[in-house]
């Protein structure tokens, strides 16, 4: 059986949304920062052996926005899962995390939201522990697009949850 799911990545500018997707889809990483304009669409097929299902993840990489209310709402329609990305080294990207998540919940009820702190390779575990209060209890996973740490896990967990 094959199913297709739409996943949308959101977050501020430069938090590494495109890098996370490239790491997952192409297993590549570049230090060069290229700003995403509008939307970029990627696709990756993964198999969930337990269910014997092929999941086609159609991933929408939306342009970064410092205020989520400026996001083009039509891009959010029909989304099966959101991934909200922030940068663990830049407080501006997670200071309004709660209100941004609430906005998403309000606009797309019943759509799961995974909150991810990217660039964990740039900080120590002690730093993450010390700042966990600032990141809020909403964070589901700390990942690194640069090293690839937990990137596959993020998407495969999501795919599994979506077909349950």
């Amino acid at each position: 059986m094959k199913v297709s799911k739409k996943i949308v990545l959101l977050g501020h500018f430069g938090v590494g949304k495109s890098s996370l997707i490239r790491r997952f889809v192409e297993n590549t990483f570049s230090e060069d920062y290229k700003v995403t304009i509008g939307v970029h669409i990627f696709k990756k097929n993964i198999t969930i052996p337990e269910q014997g299902t092929d999941v086609s993840l159609v991933i929408w990489d939306l342009e970064g926005n410092d205020d989520i209310t400026n996001t083009r709402l039509s891009y959010l329609l029909g989304t099966h899962a959101f991934i909200y990305v922030y940068d663990v080294t830049r407080p501006a990207t997670y200071e309004s995390l709660e209100s941004e998540i609430n906005f998403l919940k309000e606009k797309q009820k019943n759509t799961s939201i995974t909150v991810v702190g990217n660039k964990e390779d740039l900080v120590t575990k002690a730093y993450l522990k010390q700042n966990s209060g600032n990141f809020g209890s909403l964070t589901d996973l700390y990942v690194s697009a640069k090293t690839g740490d937990k990137v596959d896990l993020l998407f495969s967990n999501l795919a599994e949850a979506l077909i349950k």
Binding site: S4, K5, K6, G38, V39, I41, F42, K43, S56, V58, W60, R72, L73, S74, Y75, L77, G78, T79, H80
Partner: protein
């Protein structure tokens, strides 16, 4: 033994080693002189070094000279556009001529094939139509040959852009990516114009025309090659509306297999 003889013996004793050494140095110098002065002998020694250096230089060209050459070419082309056009014109002209000749040959072969079928049912039907409408048989053949062709049909869920069903005779595109991108373009255009109840209906891409037929829960994207005109658009719209109204129900939207079967049956 006088003083001179004694001095000579002393010299012999003291300077024998130095003399031998001086002789050896002299000999080596002669060999070096020979090598330098005789071209073939010098080549034997120096050529491998030059060759190695040249090889290294060739390998280094893309890195060291590449950007400068590209920059110089860009500037040169920019500064002498007329000269570039003059140089390229005959080549491009020949290419276009060849392409047109090839296309004309294909057209001529197709017309011949149609003419050969003059006594078939299709041919007789054309003759009858020509007499009835007053349009020459040749024009009718040309009209038949320049018919638009449906290459692919995609039924796409509105909003998500997820493909519900797809039909094509030749699989050539990644329909998941295309349906996502079409939906993003559609969403952007419809949002940007900020007018209610208006929807994107048509996109042109190279020689392809993408007709978008909107319904409430989904839209159908039809990829067409060949001339796309108002008559064809109207016929296509009628066909798509007929399909949506009379063949598709709510359950089919959830059951992609059933949708695909119906789509194939209807358009094949």
């Amino acid at each position: 033994m006088n003083q001179d003889e004694r001095l000579s013996i002393l010299k012999d004793i003291l300077l024998t080693d130095e003399r031998e050494y001086a002789q050896k140095v002299e000999e080596k110098l002669r060999v070096v002189e020979d090598v330098i002065n005789k071209q073939n002998q010098l080549s034997e020694r120096v050529n491998p070094i030059i060759e190695q250096k040249l090889n290294d230089f060739i390998l280094e060209i893309p890195k060291t000279l590449g950007p400068s050459i590209t920059e110089a070419l860009k500037t040169e082309i920019k500064n002498s556009q007329d000269a570039v056009v003059e140089a390229l014109f005959p080549i491009i002209g020949k290419m276009i001529k060849k392409y047109v000749q090839q296309e004309m040959q294909i057209l001529s072969e197709q017309i011949n094939a149609k003419m050969n079928s003059a006594f078939t049912f299709e041919g007789l039907k054309r003759k009858f139509k020509s007499k009835k409408t007053g349009v020459s048989e040749g024009d009718l053949i040309l009209q038949e040959l320049s018919q638009p062709k449906i290459d692919q049909i995609m039924v796409i869920e509105k909003g998500s852009g997820i493909i519900i069903s797809e039909y094509s005779k030749t699989q050539s595109i990644d329909e998941d990516m295309v349906s996502g991108m079409l939906t993003a373009i559609k969403s952007f255009a419809e949002d940007a114009f900020e007018k209610d109840n208006q929807e994107l209906q048509y996109i042109e891409y190279d020689s392809f025309h993408i007709h978008l037929q909107n319904f409430s829960a989904y839209y159908i994207a039809v990829i067409i090659s060949g001339p796309y005109n108002v008559v064809f658009k109207s016929k296509l719209e009628d066909k798509l509306l007929d399909f949506a109204q009379n063949y598709i129900n709510k359950e089919d939207i959830k059951d992609t297999d059933s949708f695909s079967k119906k789509l194939k049956l209807f358009f094949e």
